[in-house]
Symmetry: C2
Subunit: 304 residues, 2 copies
């Protein structure tokens, strides 16, 4: 018997078909919950909340199981699993969506198993803000809640999103989303605006340029761990967020230093993640690999 999760992650679970300039990978395991749980489970016992269809391959489930992710929060519903087909442009900076089939994800209503409700750490991955609120209401009294969102929800569900943001500890989003949500031009102005909406921390993701953390008192800036090559950037933001909150739950301490170090661990984990498609690299990381890259990363970021 494994211990009960001290971190709960809710998000999408999908079967992806991904094309890069170099290769095409059909029907691979994807989704924000899948990437985030794979990353967080490197540090903390994680419970996954999501939905799959009856077509979901048992092999994918075994990948999570091998990482010791608790799957009692994953519902299986009659129908098709969420599917996404994306193509990356030559520079791998931009991608376009060929097709999205929501399948059972269209009617997803997350229900938390009893033993998840007492978890001190919660990551509300990128799903509809109404569903994020529904999850939050089922939790007893989490110590730290991280929420992610995307442009779609800012455009079609701003009111519900604002309700979520007001209730969480940390909001994470990428730079264009921060500008869209606030109408501000600089990230500092956007972050000040977002902090007024309620969260104690605002974490703006800048892709391969790293991330910036804002509180009412100070700012922390982190680069991304630099790679000479990578195969698939899909899920990097989720792996970063998952690695961050997984490490934070392991520290189980909300000091500024713990939060900064957890961000650096998140970046390190995300850098491994993009080296292969799907969870290919995340499933094979040894703790030593992480610590070695983390030590290098700290050295690369040291001014003096």
């Amino acid at each position: 018997m494994s211990a009960q999760p001290n971190l709960v992650v809710v998000g999408s679970i999908g079967i992806d078909t991904i094309e890069t300039p170099h290769e095409k990978q059909p029907d691979i395991l994807g989704g924000s919950a899948s990437y985030a749980c794979a990353a967080s489970s490197l540090f903390s016992r994680t419970g996954m909340v999501g939905v799959v269809g009856t077509d979901f391959p048992d092999l994918h489930r075994q990948v999570w199981g091998a990482m010791d992710i608790d799957l009692s929060g994953v519902q299986t519903v009659e129908g098709e699993t969420f599917k996404w087909h994306g193509v990356y442009e030559a520079n791998m900076d931009n991608r376009s969506t060929i097709s999205t089939e929501l399948g059972v994800f269209a009617d997803f209503s997350p229900v938390l198993p009893g033993e998840y409700r007492k978890a001190p750490y919660l990551f509300l991955g990128n799903i509809a803000p109404e569903l994020q609120l529904h999850v939050l209401e089922q939790m007893d009294d989490p110590k730290f809640v991280l929420v992610d969102t995307m442009d779609l929800w800012i455009n079609i569900a701003r009111e519900a999103l604002e309700k979520v943001v007001a209730k969480v500890t940390m909001l994470t989003l990428n730079e264009s989303e921060a500008r869209l949500l606030t109408g501000e031009q600089t990230l500092l102005a956007a972050a000040k605006h977002l902090l007024k909406m309620g969260p104690e921390y605002v974490l703006i993701k800048k892709g391969e340029s790293g991330s910036m953390l804002f509180t009412h008192k100070n700012i922390f800036m982190l680069h991304a761990y630099p790679l000479e090559s990578f195969k698939d950037p899909t899920g990097a933001g989720d792996a970063f967020a998952g690695g961050f909150i997984g490490k934070l739950a392991e520290f189980d301490e909300l000091s500024p230093v713990a939060i900064r170090q957890a961000m650096a661990y998140g970046s390190v984990v995300a850098s491994f993640g993009v080296e292969e498609f799907s969870l290919g690299r995340l499933t094979g990381i040894e703790r030593e690999d992480i610590e070695n890259r983390y030590a290098e990363f700290v050295e690369m970021s040291r001014i003096s």
Copy 2:
């Protein structure tokens, strides 16, 4: 009598007309040498090498003089000073050129005053690589040579550019230029390629996302100092490079720590520069302003 310069900066001197979404500033002092010297002179006695026409306003010259920049390397030639008219888009990320009039800059042939030739530090700002080579040949034996370039020279003067790059200590360029010059996709791959061309250091500028320094042995990553608002990003890269080499010349030490700290000072100076048009803010900085912002910046970049 002022001391002879220990840093020589060569580059363009221009009269700019700049439009942002908020205002239009006609006929202001610009050019890579102007921004770089204003920044470097905050730390080190700097000699400027460039050319202006007989139309060049005396008031602009007085701005440099007030910063104690040595102007004996500035030639005045019959004709018009280089003029550039640019417009920034709504997000201030991109700009387009309305007009460029080379004027006397078209036939610029830099000649170094005798007392410049012994300077230990040299910044070859963004001008034609043939002219950069010509300057380099006039120097006795500089300890540290930084060269900047741009996409134009990569496209039309690659061979001369490669000759310059092989002879300098540090190459700086922005990320798209690094990709253009090497054909590599990631910055790490591009930097490895560029290091093979000869320089000991490659410094890739990433605009508001900071910069990355590569040597054969290690990597250093620096963010840009975050601003809530700014007025004009023109010359930020030149002010960064100028502030960097000015501070390095002040340290007069090429240790990894001195180089990292000098980069951070360069970023701080660039952050002041963009707060006003032209040299408006750079001329008014006190040493204390720089030190305060530097201390904040170090704190914002500290992982643990």
